[in-house]
Each structure stands twice: as C-alpha cells, then as structure tokens.
C-alpha cells in the first residue's frame, strides 16, 4: 500500500531538502563526517568561520578547538592578574597542538604583558 503524501508534506519535504543542502553548503565541508581526531575526540568537520587563518587539522567547531579556545580564555584571564593558572593553560594547549608546538603558539602572548592595577605576581 502506497503511503499517502499530502501536498503539505511535499512542500515541507522540499523545504527541508533545500534548507539542508544550503546549510551543508554554508557550514559543513563537502566531506562532512565524524573523524577520529588527534585529541582522541570525535570531531565533526565544520567549515571554520575564519577559514583563511584556521588550520585545517583543528576544525573550528570541535572539542579540540574548544579546549584551545578555553586555554586562550584562561590566558587572557591570567593577563588580568589571576595567578596560578599558567600550568593549566600550557596543559590545555599541549593537549591540542602537542607539547613542543604549543610553546611556539604561546610565545607571542608571553611577550605581551598588560598593566592592570591589580599587581598580583603571575606565573610566567
């Protein structure tokens, strides 16, 4: 017995099909799929918003990038004078980019020391 499809269902299906096609085109890589990433996390490859400056191996929306962004956020917090989180930042970046690479990524930020009138001794 054929399933009865109403005109309304047809319209809705078409809308879904077109929307998903454009959504995929806009946000996802052509070969969007779950991949086993370096950080042992399941990563959905999504088109990075900053495609020109983002490395392909760390997709913008991934656990790995979230960890890196979180570490960067902590780095900013430490620059404001919260002490004792330097080791956590180094750990986070090392988990994402590897131990040696992370030292180079962190260097430009180490060179900038912002003055803030809460002079707490920081870990450098």
């Amino acid at each position: 017995m054929r399933a009865f499809i109403t005109a309304k269902d047809k319209v809705l299906n078409n809308i879904k099909r077109i929307a998903s096609r454009y959504f995929k085109k806009l946000f996802f890589y052509k070969d969007a799929q779950f991949q086993w990433a370096n950080t042992s996390t399941v990563v959905l490859q999504i088109r990075p918003i900053f495609a020109p400056i983002m490395l392909a191996e760390i997709p913008f929306f991934s656990y790995a990038f979230l960890l890196a962004a979180g570490s960067a956020l902590l780095l900013g917090i430490s620059k404001a004078g919260i002490k004792g989180i330097a080791a956590l930042i180094v750990t986070g970046l090392a988990l994402v980019y590897g131990a040696k690479n992370s030292t180079g990524i962190m260097m430009p930020f180490s060179l900038v020391e912002i003055y803030w009138p809460f002079p707490i001794i920081k870990d450098t």
């Binding site: 400056i53 570490s71 956020l73 780095l75 080791a87 750990t91 590897g98 690479n101 930020f109 020391e113």
Partner: protein, 187 residues
Amino acid sequence: MAVSYYQRHVKWVYIKKLLPWMVFGVLLGVLGGNAISEKTFTYSMVVIIIGSTFMMYYWEQQKTQKVPSHWSFSGLMGVLAGFTTMVGNLAGAFANIYFLAMRLPKNEFIGTAAWLFFIINVFKVPFHVLVWETINWSSLKISATLLPFVVLGFVLGVQIVKKIENDNYRKLILLFTALGGVAILFK
C-alpha cells in the same frame, strides 16, 4: 605594559645575577628540546607541569617561607627557571622562589620579575624561530585565531579579579593542572 609601568621599581642587580643562569637554562632547554623526540619532550613537559604544580602547592602550604640564601641555590633556581620557561613557558614557580629568597619588596618583586621575563622571552624568540621552528606562519595563524579568546579572557579576568576573595579556587586549579598533565601522557 607592566614592564614600562614597573620600570622605576626594577632592581637590575638581581636581574644581572639571575639572567646568566636563566640564559644557561634556556640554552640547555633549546639543546635538549632539539635533541630529544617529541615523545620525550612531552614527558619532560609533563614532569615540569606536575613538578611546578606540586611546588606551588607545597609553597602555599608553608607557614614560613624560608629559602637558602647561598648563591648555588639561586643559580639552581635560575637554571631550572630558564629550562622550564623554554620547555613549558613555566618559569614562575622557580623564579618567584629566587625573588622571595632575595626578600624584595612587593613592587620591586613585580617590576624585576616582569623585566626579567620580558628579557628572557625576547631571548627565546630566535631559538623558537630558527632552531625549534615552533614559531612559524602556521603557529602565528593559530595564535591569531586564539587572540580574540585571549582578549575576551582579559575582559572576563578584569571582572573576576575584583570579585575573588578566597584562595580555594587555587587548589581546584592545581588539581586540574595535575590531571591535565597526566592527560597529556595518554594523548
């Protein structure tokens, strides 16, 4: 910039004393880091992270912060600080002990430490670029990508630093750091 603000508080005599040791430590780190494999480098970093964490914890538990005043202790701290800043960007745990040993007043402590780290960080750059090749276009692109988060973190930090009253969060951070250090091994 902290370095310019605290310039008047800098005690150059302490920088001159510690800098050669730190430079030696950095060079050891450069040579060591270049000679060993990525895996061994990772292990070294984990040891530094966990070692620094325990040192920070131990230091905070101490009621009286007495440190040896012998020059060899300062030298050892300088070499360790140089090595750890090269391998893990974590010189603070050791360098701060040196400055505490010198019994510097607070502003002199901050000013001298800020200038020392600034000099040593500038000194490290050529080694990162030319020897380790860890600073390159790819790493700069990643740093640029992370920059908005650092700025956001700074804005958040400014709000947080006004509110934080107790030091309980420090123990939690130390625990997370130690766990993270172990997690690197299983990466």
